[in-house]
């Protein structure tokens, strides 16, 4: 059964009570043990893989060396035959035969190692995918539990502090009222600013002698002088 199904079953089966474990602690531990074991397998598989790959490289080098040696000795044998030295040619041919035996042994070893490398690489891939899958599932269980525990902590906190969780509508009304208050204040501030702008315009006009001008001491004195 998939882990999500287990969680759903636990919910339906009454574990929806906040704080109740979805998968019992033992189940989680078994899960964690499985992840741990898989990681160990992975480590061993990777170690084996590097060993076999090293052997594969060594054997490849050996096969190449033997092949070169065979062709080299074939050259020597031909030279001996050309010189008419039949017995030397035979001796060289025996050497070639023994090199051939070595070569076929190394060749078959190489095939075995290559097959091994393929299988180990496949094993590493599968194990890595399985660990990821286990971790994802464990994270689902842990998140579900964490969320339930968090909810329990929050509920307890509210119960302990004597404050009450507000209903959604009440919360909404309060928040909207605050926003309304803010808007009202903003509007009032704007109006005040408009008035200030009007006032300063009036002042400027007065300074320029436009519109209704007030008598100043200077203008009174000026008027008196003209009389």
């Amino acid at each position: 059964m998939s882990i999500l199904n287990k969680i759903l079953t636990a919910f339906r089966g009454g574990a929806r009570e906040v704080g109740e474990a979805i998968v019992d602690a033992n189940g989680t531990r078994i899960f964690e043990q499985e992840i741990h074991d898989s990681r160990e397998h992975l480590k061993k598989a990777k170690h084996d893989l590097t060993d076999v790959m090293a052997k594969q490289m060594q054997t490849t080098r050996e096969v190449n060396r033997l092949k070169e040696s065979v062709s080299e000795h074939e050259g020597y044998a031909t030279q001996a035959l050309n010189k008419g030295d039949e017995s030397l040619a035979l001796e060289i041919a025996e050497k070639i035969a023994s090199l051939d035996v070595d070569l076929s042994q190394q060749d078959s070893a190489l095939t075995t190692y290559s097959g091994h490398v393929e299988r180990l690489k496949e094993l590493v891939r599968k194990t890595e995918r399985q660990i990821k899958d286990y971790e994802r599932q464990l994270s689902m269980v842990k998140t579900t539990e964490s969320v339930q525990k968090a909810t329990a902590a929050i509920t307890d906190n509210f119960a302990g502090s004597n404050s009450k969780l507000l209903g959604a509508k009440e919360s909404l009304e309060r928040i909207q009222k605050k926003q309304q208050d803010f808007d009202d204040r903003l509007k009032a501030a704007e109006q005040l600013q408009d008035e200030t702008v009007d006032k300063s315009l009036e002042e400027k006009m007065q300074a320029a002698g436009i519109g209704e001008t007030k008598d100043t001491a200077a203008s009174i004195l000026e008027r008196l002088k003209k009389k």
Binding site: K149, A150, T151, L166
Partner: protein, 135 residues
Amino acid sequence: MNTQDIAIRFSELNSYQGFSFDCQLIPGDTEVLQIVVSDYEEIPVYISITETQILCISYLWSEDEVVQDKRGAMMELMLEINIPMPLSSFSKIGDKYVIFGALMANSSFEDVVHEVITLAENSVEAISAMTDYLK
């Protein structure tokens, strides 16, 4: 980042985009951080951290606030507005309907702050969209 780190960063943060924050650690089996965003004091955001993610949750309303014969229609509407609602999704924990956002465990503090503000704003949007279904 763990809950303490986030708590310290929030306490140091005077204001962000005109919002101020009040944070409080809630003791319990799992550490939970309560963040109160200015102007949205009634709907706190709760942060809890697991190995894989940072979960930000706000509690919207409980089952007993739902007008029972409109329950199905309400849930359908919640499903429908789930995608249009930026960054947040609806869920249910026990008898409580919630709105939440999940962040990667290695998200930056700025991401968390952004998430918290968005969640507070979305909570108000969501409740005001659903008032017809609530008592």
